[in-house]
Amino acid sequence: MKEHASTQAGTAVHKPFFLWRHLNKLRWVVLSLVFSMLVLLPMLHLYQTYVAAHAYDLLAPSEKRLYDAMELLTSPFVSDPEKQLDAVKGTTWSGTLFGLKLSDPLAVVGQMAAGLTIYWPFLVTALIPIGFTVVFGRFFCGWICPATFLYELNSNIAGWLHWAGFRIGGRRFDKRIKYGVLALGVVVSAATGSIAFAAIYPPAIIGREIYYAVALSGFGAGAAFFAGTLLFDLLVARRGFCRYLCPGGALYSLLGRYRLVRIRRIVESCNDCAKCNVVCEFGLDPLRDGFGQECNNCTACIAVCPTDAMTFVLRPTDVPPQGPGHLGRQYRRAMEKAAGEAAGRERDRGARAAGDGESTSRPEREEAA
């Protein structure tokens, strides 16, 4: 009955802030920026090398082109490229951003497990990401991760293939597998003394492999592994690696379980169209208020919602299931039914019927039992 109280309290149908449905575009911009930075940084590094060696005249034509392009790109911002371009270095796994050292919390966990020690200076580099994760949940997975950029495109491909008639990628597994991967990774790291996560964690692989490919000329074994995960996502389970296997996602889910900023459905505006469930990359259930700790605040459901029924709220837990959306057919029928039943008694209908309609069958089941 509690849910009624909350629904009742918010009888005034509040619309989400109008910019929030554009956050998904911003997210794509951020994802593309992160990815292109990962491609650009090794090139900038090559450019730095050439500058340091005063080697322009000795460069091959292709290297000269790279030099010219990077010079064109950076000359408005730096006067001493050899030194100043060190300001941004690294990948999302660990890197320097204008003097600020940032590391992936998973790297810290892995290093602590592998070394069986806590190295405080390294732990400190992960504090900012951890803090953001506690507030925003699994935001890294939706907003930063360079693998997400490719995985989401891949998921579009899967949708397109489905449109074209290929019935693939529909499997679902247990989402708790990834917590097992996280635990196993910690155990393996501790047992072998080398960081097992680095070998299977897609963002680390992406950052590393792009660097290898551009600066050291040649992909490593990680690229093959990543291609395998792309195929797995395409053929077996949509976003399968992120949903079921990614140890980083598991860690962020745990850290962001009681995140403050979360998405919530406004039941009064919802018409049960279920598009939110369709676009949800992580297979969550926004339609039935089932966000849970896995939600990465990617805002795809906000952007797709035709009736503006998704919004951000500040609260540490999800709202309890609110039943069918008030603009939907199911709710209307329940209302009509309730109205018919309550025709004898007068003026005793409303949200109560909505809440106790056939929608929430749990109490009925308990009765049946």
Partner: protein, 237 residues
């Protein structure tokens, strides 16, 4: 196909061209032999192949482009290609040492050098036939083969000889001209990325339709508020 082969055979100008530049090569060999004679008393010495000569033109000692020490069958093979950065239109040479691993001295027969295209086209069968660079006899324990390429590219040099009935064939890659920066894997990665982005942008509506259909086909995301277990598989603990 035939045209490609023809073009490929035009790419390489070998022994005849080298014969055309016979004087040059002979001069080079003479200079090389002189240096060898001065510096090497023993037959098994390294033939002063490095930089101490302090002269980096192709007739003198330069660092090798590749130097491979390997063992094939009964023979220890040392194989070098000069100059350090082979370029089209610049004569270069191959030095080939084959010595018995049991210590009974160098191989003393004839060695046939061949070249074939190793470019992308060749992978798909458009590389043309391998062509013979020349057949060399031993000269001061070394088999030397000159070459002159007119076009940059990736080639494979094959050295073949026969010890009794046992044939030996050794392949070595040779890059003429500046290295290409984009390798096959990078091309594949670029294609995949282009495909991913292209389809996502151009076919976004269809992709969305496909996702909707997939969701409806797979169930679990239907609009019914049935509560409970539906769609909640593997709920987080």
């Amino acid at each position: 196909m035939a045209g490609k082969v023809g073009a490929a055979s035009g790419v390489l100008r070998r022994p005849r061209a080298s014969v055309g530049a016979l004087g040059l090569v002979l001069q080079g060999l003479a200079a090389f032999a002189f240096v060898l004679a001065v510096l090497c008393s023993g037959a098994r010495a390294h033939h002063v192949l490095g930089r101490p000569a302090y002269s980096l033109n192709e007739d003198s000692n330069t660092p090798p482009a590749i130097q491979v020490e390997t063992q094939v069958g009964d023979y220890a093979i040392n194989y070098m290609i000069f100059p350090a950065f082979p370029r089209p239109g610049v004569p270069g040479r191959i030095n080939f040492y084959a010595r018995k691993i049991d210590g009974s001295g160098p191989f003393k027969g004839k060695v046939t050098f061949q070249v074939k295209d190793n470019s992308w086209a060749a992978w798909f069968g458009f590389g043309g036939e391998p062509e013979t660079l020349g057949v060399q006899v031993i000269d001061d324990n070394v088999y030397r083969q000159g070459f002159l390429f007119q076009k940059p590219g990736d080639y494979i040099i094959t050295a073949a000889f026969k010890d009794g009935d046992m044939p030996y064939v050794i392949d070595f890659p040779l890059r003429i001209g500046p290295p290409s920066r984009v390798g096959p894997v990078a091309i594949a990665a670029g294609l995949i990325l282009a495909l991913l982005i292209g389809v996502s942008v151009v076919q976004r509506r269809r992709a969305m339709t496909g996702k909707l259909r997939a969701a409806h086909a797979g169930g679990g995301s239907g609009a019914k508020h049935t509560g409970g277990a539906d769609g909640a598989e593997g709920e987080a603990p």
